[in-house]
Symmetry: C2
Subunit: 198 residues, 2 copies
């Protein structure tokens, strides 16, 4: 056997990425072998090298497109109005974008140390760009004198950690509906930056 019936690069490439993502999320990058990924795709290990020069690049591509997609989605979102409204928008955007992408988010946070220094620097810069979105909102709120924030950078990191932590426990089948959880987090964030609740 060689080329499979109906096989296509356009078909196989996303399947390789999906298989890699799922396995890495489950076992960790170092613990997953190219043969495991290949087996999940239904292909031999050698075939993977039609889609990535090596294992490291496969990981980097996953993290890089994750951040790219995040920033693209964020750029398309509404980002205007008073700070309080923008903060609410950011919280809702973050939750709605991240929660359905469990594996991607998990891998993006856990596998940073498995990137080469150059690759790490690239991802880190994209991450900072996203954080800056939130910090800009906090700065605006301070300028408008509606937020009480001692240090916008620290507060940004605290809020993002709070939001990203959701992925560690949220399950669709959980106790509370997502809409309510979203409201709770909007409330937490608003109050954390000193806005009186309504």
């Amino acid at each position: 056997m060689a080329r499979k019936t109906g096989s296509h690069a356009d078909t196989t490439r996303p399947r390789v990425r999906a298989a890699a993502l799922q396995l890495i999320a489950q076992h960790g990058f170092a613990a997953v072998s190219m043969r495991q990924i290949a087996a999940k795709v239904g292909v031999q290990a050698g075939a993977l090298y039609n889609y990535t020069p090596d294992k490291q690049t496969l990981l980097f591509d996953l993290l890089h497109s994750h951040m790219d997609e995040l920033l693209t989605a964020r750029a398309a979102a509404v980002r205007q109005g008073p700070a309080c409204q923008q903060l609410e928008g950011f919280i809702r955007f973050h939750i709605r974008w991240h929660l359905p992408r469990g594996d991607q988010v998990f891998v993006s946070y856990m596998e940073l140390r498995n990137l080469t220094p150059e690759n790490f620097a690239q991802i880190e810069q994209l991450r900072r760009t996203y954080e800056d979105e939130l910090e800009a909102i906090l700065r605006l709120g301070v300028a408008e004198a509606v937020f009480v924030v001692v240090d916008t950078k620290i507060t940004t990191l605290a809020l993002i950690a709070m939001l990203t932590g959701m992925n560690n426990w949220y399950r669709e089948s959980g106790r509370l509906p997502l809409a309510l959880i979203e409201e709770i987090y909007v409330d937490l964030a608003r109050r954390a930056v000193g806005v009186a609740s309504d």
Copy 2:
């Protein structure tokens, strides 16, 4: 050569644990070999098996004693007074205990998936015990009518995520002194649960 000059189990055991912890924090459990750990200790790989039956148990022991030490330290802390004061105490305790233990905290969060199901369940239970400490405070605050919290469980997880996230960015050589950072987090937490700032 065999037994090294001055070698002792009481000396070597903690060195094995320290080497394992540092290497696992840096590269991840699956990416670290027993030979690397042994080399860092200054010993051959076979000697490690005087201190652990296998690699998995070595990881479990690291996570288990981390949680044990945390719960022991927490149990020794002051846990009385009004909810607002207890909340502040918890925040300060968490920060002061976790921040100086970067590697331990990192490994304890990152390597959970590399535990066998039985080992995972044990660690998970200890973690929940710690979370319950904070949730009890939130419940007390609600009972005292000084906290405004829609759901104590969600709020607990949000606050702990916020706190634990500090380990990802805090550096002793950073921009702000720890004391100030601590104040900022106490403020954030207090306001998040609806206590007016002072």
